[in-house]
Amino acid sequence: MTIQLLSSDIFRNAMIAGTVAAAVASLVGYFVVLRAQAFAAESLLDVSFAGATGAALFGVAPVLGAAILGLGAAFGIGALGERARERDVEIGMVVSFALGLGIFFLSLYARGSASHATAGVSILFGSLLSVQPEDIGRLCLLSAVVLAGLAGVFRPLLFSTIDPEAARARGVPVRLLSTLFLLILALAAAAGALAVGILLATALLIAPAAAAVRLTRRPSATLVLSLCLGVGIIWGGILISFLWPGRHPPVGFSVSTLAAAVYFIGVAASRRAYARREKTIIIGDSAETAQWTSRKESTKRSRSSVKGKPGPGAPSHRT
């Protein structure tokens, strides 16, 4: 019974699509986490949901609609949000409009029936178990474009992510790179949303890279760890869902739970290491407790926001 399940086409297609989507998401996710753009990533996934429903309405391939609307939104966010601190409002405005558009398309698409909410839910949660061979072809093509784009801008992007001031001083086009990265992210989001659904794509974009950034320092090590975690999460999730005795939990649940577990284990591990280092500092410090706590707050904040100095989890850059 189990063997049969594992050798079925459904399982094989799910594993292939899941692996490709997880690999791309965890590599792009590295920059998402370093640039603190999880909200942008989640929003672009929502936007691709709107694009896919719109494309279904006009009879175009969903992936095309998702990519077009996603690229438009990425361009809008990049053009409107000049500073990172301001950007989340712009993202919020763009995503609220795009989701409204998605609901509008859904209501047109399923007019006269109460099923449009159900249709939306299936897009949102994805359908890894109904992946078709031609979907895999499209996913691989888009993933190749995303990875090629990322490889093309990798070094300057890393430089401008870790040390934007120095990068600007050296003549690296930081603004342009920021928009380019959003465009790459939009394509990755379109590919991921259609292959594995918005929920899984969000989990895979954020969690593996966030855990990896906390556990390693060198960019190459972080990328490899993130890739391994991402692929491991999706394999683990699919296997749990397939092999669970009795009623199978949905893949969306097992993957997102595994992703959250990986992230929080990463946080706990790095906090512990951080606390051990901090303790040795306090012992030599005779300051009052109140002063100590306020200093701890401010050093923490400055360490993560000072330009030029990577935060506690950030890798040291070697450019």
């Binding site: 409204g100 939306g120 949660f125 993957v255 993560s304 926001s305």
Partner: protein, 283 residues
């Protein structure tokens, strides 16, 4: 015009307008703080997280609103406690949100009945509200406004100058958890009558526009409230008059179309630039 007045004879339109107005006022006030505290992602995530609570409550056979309260408040506290700096916060909110959505998905899969009310949370509509739900929502909106009024001064202080607030002994991290809990309460009650999208639009749209136009916090909150009411009324009426366009799409479009010219042509209010500059200097 007479057609619009005719519309007011339908009780479901009146219900929608009353509930929508109450939520718009509460959302505008808390949205102002949300925008200034850069907590937009949390505002986007909390209504979606509520989905898991509602699905769980339906599965256990209890009132959805109880599940909504439990899970959104839990998530708000977790976000406030776990997320220390900006980068952390972003990732933590994302992970908590995907986890909650996955959990909701599991509950739905386990529940074999008709869960239209749960779906309504994600893609809900304001036009199907009962009188009872409307009253409950108005009461909750009033309660969260009262809580915001009570915390107004320390919250404002800790929003614009967290360093100084810490130095003066204001409990900044407690306030940030409390603020997220207020946001969670609004989300729990509003989301089941209007859906996650419409609530998020009312949180971010009016406040984002208002903070661009005026600088003083009371003026910005007042302007945001006015804009929120305007969006709800015009969007609901337009959708009801047309009959096929979803209300949430109408309101989201109006909010975006008002924001865009303001964003492009109005220079940001100086208070915010000052605040941003101050933060950059101290960082």
């Amino acid at each position: 015009m007479t057609g619009l007045i005719q519309l007011l004879r339908y009780p479901f339109i009146v219900n929608a307008l009353v509930t929508g107005s109450a939520v718009a006022v509460a959302a505008a006030a808390s949205g102002y703080f949300m925008v200034c505290r850069r907590a937009t992602f949390a505002g986007h995530a909390l209504p979606n997280i509520g989905f898991a609570g509602a699905a769980g409550a339906v599965l256990m056979g209890i009132e959805p609103v109880l599940g909504l309260f439990a899970i959104t408040i839990l998530a708000a506290v977790a976000m406030g406690v776990l997320a220390r700096d900006l980068r952390d916060r972003d990732v933590t909110v994302g992970v908590i949100m995907t986890f909650a959505l996955g959990l909701g998905f599991l509950f739905l899969a386990l529940y074999s009945g008709y869960a239209q009310r749960v779906y309504g949370i994600l893609f809900g509509s304001i036009l199907g509200i009962s009188v009872q739900a409307s009253r409950l929502t108005v009461a909750a909106a009033a309660a969260s406004l009262a809580a915001l009024a009570l915390l107004y001064r320390p919250l404002l202080f800790s929003t614009f100058d967290p360093e100084l607030a810490v130095a003066r002994g204001v409990p900044v991290s407690l306030l940030s958890v409390l603020f997220l809990v207020i946001l969670a309460v609004i989300a729990s009650l509003a989301v089941q009558v209007m859906g996650a999208l419409l609530l998020f639009t009312l949180l971010v749209g009016p406040a984002a526009t208002a903070t661009r136009i005026v600088k003083s916090p009371p003026a910005a909150i007042a302007l945001a409230t006015g804009l929120g009411l305007l969006y709800v009324w015009s969007g609901t009426m337009a959708a009801a008059a047309n009959g096929t366009i979803p209300v949430s799409f109408c309101i989201a479009s109006i909010s975006f179309l008002v924001y865009l010219p303001v964003r492009l042509f109005v220079r940001p209010a100086s208070r915010h630039r000052e605040a941003a500059g101050h933060q950059r200097r101290t960082a």
